[in-house]
Symmetry: C2
Subunit: 263 residues, 2 copies
């Protein structure tokens, strides 16, 4: 049975389930059922990809070959438990979470795996799948092969990543994505409070990201902390007296850069 | 006298002087002299833009109309002092620094100004001037007009920014550029130590920047701190026991995001 003939059921139609379901459909896969606790959300996705919308976990049938659990991390265990009662333990069942160990589903299914798209999704924004690294794991070599093949239809960037590696990637992702975005919002807040247009900084933000495409981030470090420019650092700290929370961030990050510099 | 007939002297041929000189030449301006303490560097730029290379400040002559001081912040005062002895106090003289007050040169020149390209430059990397915001300031309206006109030849993004606003922009730029790059290098270091390919995170990094092009950064915040997902935060903190410095950053940034969330 070719990978293209396998039927897929999508459990969860949030950001990941929504974009994944649409992309699988576009690439010619048959999606059989789409589950969401919210029937409107299930229907919105199911209608777009020619699948059956359901809003009860026990409505999931055993007619698919691959079950993709794309619900919130806290719900994965319960979904796996209910799912195993409906479809048995022989189906291929994967979750799409960066933070969740595969152990949570391995106790229910022999053919479990992980199918983690390492990217930030919003339902409102179009997604460029060429730019989504898929992190694949499975215990059985056959399942791993199937998941790699499936991922290769979706994106050219496919990696075999163990549970442990995925956890570490997730820590690093928090630094480069969540924390970075927070620094953007600090800059935004500082400028908005002073009625200065944040757009002025956007080209700098894009260039900062672009520079590391082919260079080591460590080598690209610039700024007062890197130069040991204590005059500028003092001026900035003084300005930040009015934002004690940002001042604390400034101090901690400046100290960290200085330590790196000293290495 | 049209702006295009004004002769320009570039003082300093580091990252900013180099790219600015080349761009001005490409846009049809006459560059008269190029100064660098390092004659090789002066010559490299001067040759490319049909100017005279010099490596002594007192060789600067009064034949230009506009003098652009693009040396390191600490050198600006001394350059202004020597320059005023050679060219008098009536020339248009600007510096290109984000962190330096215009007062440093205002005492030497009646027609002083600031011509600050708010972008990160490296000599090795091509620069897209369309993506360089120019922050312009001058006391005299005529000088301001001249500088705005000049900047408009170089980039579509030109802003009138006062000394005070420029200082605040510089603080915000440290957050979104220097600190962000440091977070990239933290992610890079964590993964390199575990022999995981940092390239896997690059699409996420680019998307994080791209997302704020048309959205507020604050609204784009995701991740365990934003969700209040204490299980994941504890797991990450535990992993970071091996990197106490990064653990401290993780803690400080997580607390800051949580405070924002609570607002």
């Amino acid at each position: 049975m070719s990978i293209r003939d396998k039927k897929i059921t999508i459990i969860g139609s949030g950001n990941v389930g929504f974009h994944l379901g649409k992309r699988l459909f576009e690439m010619g896969f048959s999606i059989y059922q789409v589950f969401s606790r919210n029937l409107d959300k299930a229907t919105r996705l199911a209608t777009a990809i020619d699948a059956h919308p359901i809003n009860q976990l026990n409505q999931i049938t055993d007619q698919s070959d691959i079950y993709i659990i794309a619900v919130k991390d806290v719900g994965i265990g319960r979904v796996a438990h209910v799912l195993s009662e409906s479809v048995g333990n022989q189906k291929i069942v994967v979750h799409t979470s960066g933070a969740t160990s595969s152990e949570l589903i391995s106790k229910y299914f022999d053919n479990y795996g992980v199918f983690y798209p390492l990217q930030t999704f919003s339902i409102e924004q179009e997604v460029d799948f060429e730019q989504i690294p898929f992190c694949i794991d499975a215990k059985s070599p056959e399942v791993k092969e199937t998941l790699l093949e499936l991922a290769n239809y979706l994106s050219p960037k496919v990696y075999r990543i163990s549970d442990r590696e995925r956890q570490i990637l997730h820590v690093a992702a928090v630094f480069v994505n969540n924390f970075t975005n927070h620094l953007y919002s600090v800059g935004e807040d500082i400028l908005e409070k002073e009625k200065i247009n944040f757009d002025i900084l956007k080209p700098l933000i894009f260039e900062t990201a672009r520079k590391i495409e082919n260079q080591r981030a460590e080598d690209m470090q610039t700024g007062p902390a890197k130069r040991g420019d204590t005059d500028t650092i003092s001026q900035h700290m003084e300005y930040l007296d009015k934002h004690p929370e940002y001042q604390k961030l400034y101090k901690t990050l400046t100290e960290s850069i200085s330590k790196h510099k000293a290495k």
